[in-house]
Amino acid sequence: VRITVDRSACELHGQCVEREPRVFRFAADGSLEHPAEADESLRDGVADAQFLCPTQAIEVAP
């Protein structure tokens, strides 16, 4: 699954980090980090994270 985060929309609520820490995490400087692509086995967690994002900043493509 390919993941993009709209940085202008992200307000660092951290819901994605909470739901799928294997994909989303906060860097030491407090910014959000994630790989451009995650393994298929993580699809559910990524999809949940997308729903849980208060600013709907996460886009997921197949």
Binding site: R7, L12, E18, A28, D29, S31, F51, Q56
Partner: protein, 408 residues
């Protein structure tokens, strides 16, 4: 059949399709148009940073792709034995499973404020009406210094309007944010020119037509051409009454989301969920719990009872106050101590926590989103205060989140 095209309703529908539900799926909404996201109504929609079209939770195209039938209708009643739900349009839907997602509605305004020029804020139509009023450059009074009230006050100050914020309580926001952060929010409003009047009741609104002056119980008056009332919400569950279960405080649910009638589930503001241990879950009429409950109910609807999941909320709420985001994790009780743990209150970047028996049970990150993961982990684990203090202050502590404020 999902009743309520709310956040909770829409997310349940989407999750059901994602989970493999192939049968018919009806999503009934009381409001016109596409389902939309509510948090921006009291924030960016009022300041003008976002417009109504940007709030859609799901597009018409996606509804089509997912084969979700969006119908217009307000539920007026249901028949748990015959498994049907009735709508004001006269329409009746038979269900195999019914998901209650009718949300909440504002508590009634004080009778003295039953006048033209007084608004509540719950729906998109409410927010658009208030935005139109703000353009007329009125003097604004906000009644109720909760999240909605303070956000509306900030939006009005964004438009450089004179604002008075009135609350019956001497210490609003404390239950929601803890004393340190609650006081910091109110101080921020004072700094930005809001006249904050706490512990005051509105006694009288002279005249008969549109509101113009509010008389408070200390004899003072407030000039206001526009009044926005935000004094809390009640579950919108009247249509479920009369079937042997009290629903005034929300549809009572187990931690799986099951309501006390066969085939009925409930999500979001309309519910009163229990924790997996069977205790009353703390009031959680908030965005995040609605989404989490939707995922749990969709999961359970598609599985046999042995595979059901339960909702185990940590509790997460946020509010935007001017350029600051304030984030709350967990739930505190009135007897928990509220302690400043890291950062600076005057600097408007800090973490405060609620402490019970030496353990962190809740906490607020004020302008400090980078502290949130550690705070949340501490609340979830019930960590000791000193451990979290060390993590937030010591080496490897979250640095100043450069992006956080610039991103607004």
């Amino acid at each position: 059949v999902i009743v309520g095209a709310s956040l909770a309703g829409v997310r349940t529908a989407q999750a059901l399709r994602r989970g493999g539900h192939r049968g018919p799926l009806v999503l009934a909404g009381a409001e016109p148009g596409l389902p939309y996201d509510r948090p921006p109504l009291s924030k960016q929609l009022l300041t003008g940073a976002r417009d109504a079209a940007s709030l859609a939770l799901v597009g018409a195209e996606q509804l089509g792709e997912l084969d979700i039938e969006l119908v217009a209708g307000t539920a007026t009643g249901f028949d748990p034995a015959g498994r049907t739900v009735r709508f004001d349009s006269g329409r009746e839907e038979r269900y195999d499973a019914l998901v209650v997602a009718t949300g909440s509605r504002p508590r009634p305004r004080p009778p003295a404020l039953d006048r033209p020029g007084v608004f509540e804020l719950r729906t998109l139509a409410d927010a658009e009406a208030i935005r139109r009023e703000l353009r007329l450059a009125p003097a604004v009074a906000v009644v109720g210094a909760g999240f909605i009230g303070t956000e509306v006050a900030a939006a009005a100050r964004h438009h450089r309007l004179p604002v008075t914020l009135v609350d019956l309580a001497p210490d609003p926001l404390r239950r929601q944010l803890g004393a340190t952060a609650a006081d910091a929010v109110l101080e921020l409003h004072r700094d930005r020119g809001v006249a904050v009047r706490l512990g005051r009741r509105i006694d009288r609104v002279p005249g008969t037509g549109r509101v113009g002056t509010l008389e408070l119980d200390d004899g003072s008056t407030v000039h206001a051409d526009l009044v926005v009332v935000g004094v809390g919400v009640r579950p919108a569950t009247g249509w479920l009454a009369g079937h042997g279960v009290s629903v005034e405080g929300g549809v009572p649910c187990t931690a799986t989301g099951r309501a006390p009638w066969d085939g009925v589930w409930a999500v979001g503001d309309a519910t009163a969920w229990r924790t997996p241990q069977g205790a009353d879950a703390p009031a959680a009429e908030h965005w995040t719990s609605a989404v989490e409950q939707a995922a749990v109910v969709a999961h359970n609807l598609l599985r046999v009872p042995g595979e059901w999941r339960t909702h185990q909320p940590v509790g997460y709420v946020w509010t935007d106050q001017y350029e600051h985001t304030v984030q709350r994790v967990g739930w505190a009780g009135p007897d928990d101590a509220d302690v400043l743990l890291a950062g600076s209150v005057p600097g408007r970047r800090f973490v405060s926590v609620a402490v019970r028996d030496g353990r962190v049970v809740a906490g607020t990150a004020f302008g400090f989103p980078a502290a949130l993961p550690r705070l949340r982990a501490a609340v979830r684990a019930g960590s000791g205060v000193d451990g979290l203090r060390g993590e937030l202050a010591g080496p490897g502590a979250p640095a100043s989140p450069a992006g956080a404020t610039a991103m607004r």
